[in-house]
């Protein structure tokens, strides 16, 4: 077996050193009744070529985003990733390193994390950020828990806006249900986010508002922040598309206390939903309530600047049952991809990328709005918007797929039994004029 360096002579000699007669003796503590006699019922080892053939055949059975006109968003976004990003994250020193708990030989990862945290703080308009969470949805749930902790557990309600991504709402509901945190009854609905203020009461620890929201609508967080703060609640701002922050006023500038979101759109591919990367930022005063790993600056014995993981007294390996979260592993290598892409872009590149996304989406919205039986519902949007069709969106998407067009996400897939005529359409910088024409023509034909 190509991954195993020991041969039979090695094993024999090593067993002698250990002082046992056979490998079986090393498993002596395992009760006889549960020792497997033969091999488990799975295929035997295979050559690299054979495995590659099998996995490639599976790959060939799917339609990839790059191979067809592509308009899906709804929480995962297809952008062009510079070749440099994927090359660098495959460096052995980044790919095959553990969590940087030994800072003297982990400065590469640690400095990159410090830079990552600063980029996330700048992008969100917050003072501090952590070294990432699993994804945007779990970051959202952790933010809600953090908000109740910041209220010293005296406030037990979280109010989720109707425009929050349905899967973020579901994950948050699931992940807090065991903690006596009360979540408001809600439906995923368009155009109702501003009314979230009606649900804020004195027991409300936080209000969770997404912008651009699930339907692509851009929400002004300022009036919501005002009411939340007046009632003593925190405002948690959520985003699912980091590129949007290149074009929009930051959530921090609008008054948010905690900002969480999905960072996949920068540097990380679609990956059929994972791994993605949860971004998590907050105000300085809340930092000791923040979950997850945090990197900080310090000096070494010679006084040279260096970086370490810090504030670990919040974390499970020190605090055990009193930890702020049980999170341990985060999205390390995805942080690398995110931060490298951000470094390549810089301020100028990110803003330009955001502007291109917006322009492309505007052009597509005009194209679709001109079709009989399709109407764009958004007052505002960044690179994604909601279209009302004269028929079932799921059916239309199937027809388009049969024509090799991935024509968006039917809202009803995420809100079963409701919103059946709504289609979410996304256009990033990868969409060409030709793609739009092909999509427009096919949609028109399908709807007529």
């Amino acid at each position: 077996m190509r991954y195993l360096p020991l041969n039979e002579n090695d094993r024999r000699a090593m067993l002698d050193v250990v002082g046992v007669g056979s490998i079986d003796d090393l498993f002596d503590d395992v009760p006889e009744s549960v020792r497997l006699k033969g091999l488990v019922d799975l295929p035997r080892h295979q050559s690299e070529q054979a495995v590659e053939r099998y996995v490639s055949a599976l790959s060939d059975k799917s339609i990839s985003a790059s191979s067809v006109p592509f308009f899906c968003g709804a929480g995962a976004y297809k952008h062009h990733i510079p070749a440099t990003v994927d090359h660098l994250i495959q460096r052995s020193e980044f790919l095959t390193a553990y969590t940087p708990y030994q800072p003297e030989i982990s400065q590469g990862t640690l400095q990159a994390l410090f830079e990552f945290q600063t980029q996330v703080a700048l992008l969100t308009g917050m003072e501090v950020a952590n070294a990432s969470m699993y994804d945007g949805s779990t970051a959202c749930a952790e933010a809600v828990i953090m908000a109740t902790r910041a209220a010293r557990d005296k406030r037990r309600r979280a109010v989720l806006a109707p425009g929050l991504h349905p899967y973020y709402a579901a994950a948050t509901q699931t992940l807090v249900q065991t903690l006596d945190i009360d979540i408001n009854e809600r439906d995923t609905r368009m155009g109702r986010d501003a009314h979230v203020i009606d649900h804020i009461d004195d027991d409300t620890a936080c209000v969770v508002v997404q912008s651009p929201n699930f339907f692509g609508e851009i929400i002004d967080l300022r009036p919501i922040c005002e009411v939340a703060h007046a009632r003593g609640a925190l405002l948690i701002a959520v985003f699912t598309e980091p590129v949007a922050l290149g074009a929009l006023m930051s959530p921090g500038e609008q008054g948010a206390d905690i900002v969480v979101g999905e960072g996949q759109g920068l540097g990380v591919g679609l990956n059929f939903g994972g791994p993605h990367i949860g971004l998590f930022a907050c105000r300085q005063r809340l930092v000791r309530q923040m979950p997850g790993r945090i990197c900080g600056e310090t000096v070494d014995a010679n006084g040279e600047r260096g970086f370490v993981l810090t504030l670990s007294t919040r974390e499970q390996h020190i605090r055990r049952e009193k930890a702020t979260s049980n999170i341990c592993t985060n999205s390390g290598l995805c942080c690398m991809a995110f931060t490298i892409h951000m470094t390549l872009l810089g301020d100028t590149g990110l803003k330009r990328l955001a502007a291109l996304n917006h322009e492309t989406a505007c052009a597509l919205a005009d194209e679709i709005d001109a079709i009989n039986g399709a109407k764009v519902l958004n007052d505002s949007f960044f690179n994604e918007f909601t279209v009302r069709l004269n028929t079932s969106a799921a059916g239309v998407v199937e027809v388009l797929a049969s024509k090799n067009i991935l024509g968006g996400v039917p809202v009803s897939r995420l809100t079963p039994g409701r919103n059946e005529d709504l289609l979410l359409v996304c256009a990033t910088e990868i969409v060409s004029r030709d793609d739009m024409r092909v999509f427009g023509a096919a949609l028109e034909e399908t709807l007529s």
Binding site: L6, E115, Y134, I218, I294, T343, E398
Partner: protein, 520 residues
């Protein structure tokens, strides 16, 4: 698992070689922060000029700079390559972090994870366009349930700790469904990973610790006593092999006792790599167990993630599994995305860590049933070889054989003035990543060494020679050099206490000159 747990504070600088003008030391190049070398106007991507169409951003446009520095492509490459050279990695040498399982990461896994039809697919594409991706998840689930001997696996948990949540939430959902909501106490051995008690509390349980015996296993008498009044017990969280590197011999009885008292058995699968192909956890009577695909099945650790924590569930718990999951329906595959009445809900936005699934399946198929078993045996043999080769100069925490990791305590350092931390830092100068230290906490000054199956006998012998030499030097009173270690690493010992007392968590522009000075 971590090897932190004890903040370091440098105590001695020792001797230093002469300084260079640049500050660089040959291959170890000084590299400033991107904020100190880049500017907001510089960029490493060429994008077309926007045409300037009318904005539909609802008057929420960003005004002014974000403050993000950019670098050109060559500068970017050099920045990160220089940083990379300050990192230790499995591809560089022995990485014996006990419980973390730093094994070889085959590059075929990386290649497969980048195939377009698996990597470049959207999680919400129509099912008909992602049949290959769904089939891969289904196939991996088959390998996992076969290796563990369990009826089902929830694939969506995103890391080990997320898998723990999955298992414990399934237990809680089952208890609540059975009207057993008074069961809110979870038994956790003192030697457990910190995630176990943190997870239990996160799921609304209280934690009741069970001590270990002086042989490193669970104290059965105490366990039996706790179970006498066990009608509030939800279950037990047990790692097997445990964090001392020992197989819990009484595991079948433990499962039996817990079930008789009405509770469930959560097994922490962090050490499943010691059992793959030789023991199926399902045969031990467990109800839930997460796998760490990034440990056991070699999807890389990536400097701290991403992980992947599929969680196997027993007959008693399987109906409570979270959504989504993949089912085979005739010749096609379907994704069940909506929770029915019994599923405890949804753990994350999409379907789990597909990128890790591809790598894990590639790894499993490469090994096959025979190779996986051999890997387990080699891992256990390597650990025992190290323990046997060091037991006369270091002090094994317990007598007898170990499983996949060898646990030493600090008795051999007694009266030397040298602590486990100093010993670990001296290993860095020898070219090794330190072992896990101060964990498990039940052993004083613990050093937990896990070589994995990936090391050759020659590499192990070099490692053993270094370790023996360090142990002998410690015994001979070479305190100063141990306290100064590491001296050959890119940086000397870092001041973690200072970092925590005065947290600097991001770069900030240098202070503006004081206003008075400006006016002048």
């Amino acid at each position: 698992m971590n090897s932190g747990g004890r903040p370091t504070r440098p105590v001695a600088a020792g001797s230093n070689p002469p300084q260079t003008v640049s500050g660089s030391k040959a291959l170890n190049q000084v590299q400033k922060l991107i904020f100190e070398i880049g500017t907001p106007r510089r960029t490493g991507v060429d994008l077309p000029e926007p045409k300037g169409t009318e904005s539909r951003l609802g008057s929420m446009e960003r005004k002014g700079d974000i403050g993000l520095p950019g670098l050109s492509e060559p500068e970017t490459l050099r920045h990160y390559i220089r940083l990379s050279q300050k990192n230790y990695a499995i591809d560089l040498g022995v990485y014996p972090l006990g419980s973390c399982t730093m094994k070889h990461n085959p590059r075929l896994n990386e290649k497969m994870a980048r195939l377009q039809g698996l990597a470049d697919v959207h999680p919400l594409q129509p099912e008909s366009t992602v049949q290959g991706a769904l089939e891969l998840i289904h196939e991996l689930a088959h390998w996992i349930t076969t290796l563990t001997g369990m009826p089902t696996v929830a694939m969506s948990p995103k890391a080990g700790a997320h898998g723990e949540l999955c298992g414990m939430m399934a237990i809680r959902a089952r208890l609540d469904a059975d009207g057993e909501s008074k069961r809110r106490r979870v038994l956790v051995p003192e030697s457990a990973h910190g995630t176990n008690p943190a997870t239990a509390v996160r799921c609304g349980f209280s934690v009741d610790e069970i001590p270990g015996t002086d042989q490193g296993c669970i104290h059965m008498e105490t366990l039996r006593e706790k179970l006498v009044h066990g009608d509030d017990i939800a279950g037990i969280m047990l790692t097997n092999p445990n964090t001392c590197g020992l197989f819990e011999r009484d595991v079948i009885e433990i499962a039996d006792l817990i079930h008789k008292t009405g509770g469930y058995f959560y097994c922490d699968g962090a050490n499943f790599n010691a059992l793959v192909g030789r023991v199926r956890p399902g045969d031990l009577g467990i109800d839930a167990m997460h796998l760490n695909l990034h440990k056991t099945f070699s999807t890389p650790h990536g400097g701290g993630g991403p992980g992947s924590g599929p969680t196997v569930l027993s007959e008693a718990l399987k109906d409570y599994a979270p959504v989504p999951f993949v089912v085979k329906d005739g010749e096609s595959y379907r994704l069940i995305e909506d929770a029915d009445n019994r599923s405890f809900g949804r753990m994350c936005a999409f379907h789990g860590q597909m990128g890790m699934f591809i790598r894990a399946l590639t790894y499993m198929m490469s090994h096959g049933a025979d190779g996986l078993k051999q890997a387990t045996e080699d891992a256990v043999l390597n650990a025992n070889y190290i323990q046997a080769s060091l037991s006369d100069v270091m002090t094994p925490a317990f007598g007898g054989l170990c499983m996949h990791e060898a646990l030493f305590d600090d008795r051999f350092l007694r009266d030397t003035g040298i602590e486990t931390l100093d010993f670990a830092k001296a290993m860095i100068d020898e070219g090794y990543h330190p072992m896990t230290m101060y964990f498990p906490m039940v052993v004083h000054g613990a050093m937990l060494i896990e070589p994995t199956e990936s090391e050759s006998r020659e590499e192990l012998d070099r490692f053993i020679t270094s370790m023996r030499s360090l142990a002998e030097r410690a015994g001979s009173g070479d305190v100063e050099n141990f306290k100064a270690a590491p001296i050959h690493a890119p940086l000397r010992r870092l001041d973690e206490t200072r970092a925590a007392r005065n947290p600097i968590l991001r770069w900030k522009p240098p202070d503006e000159p004081p206003k008075a000075a400006k006016q002048a």
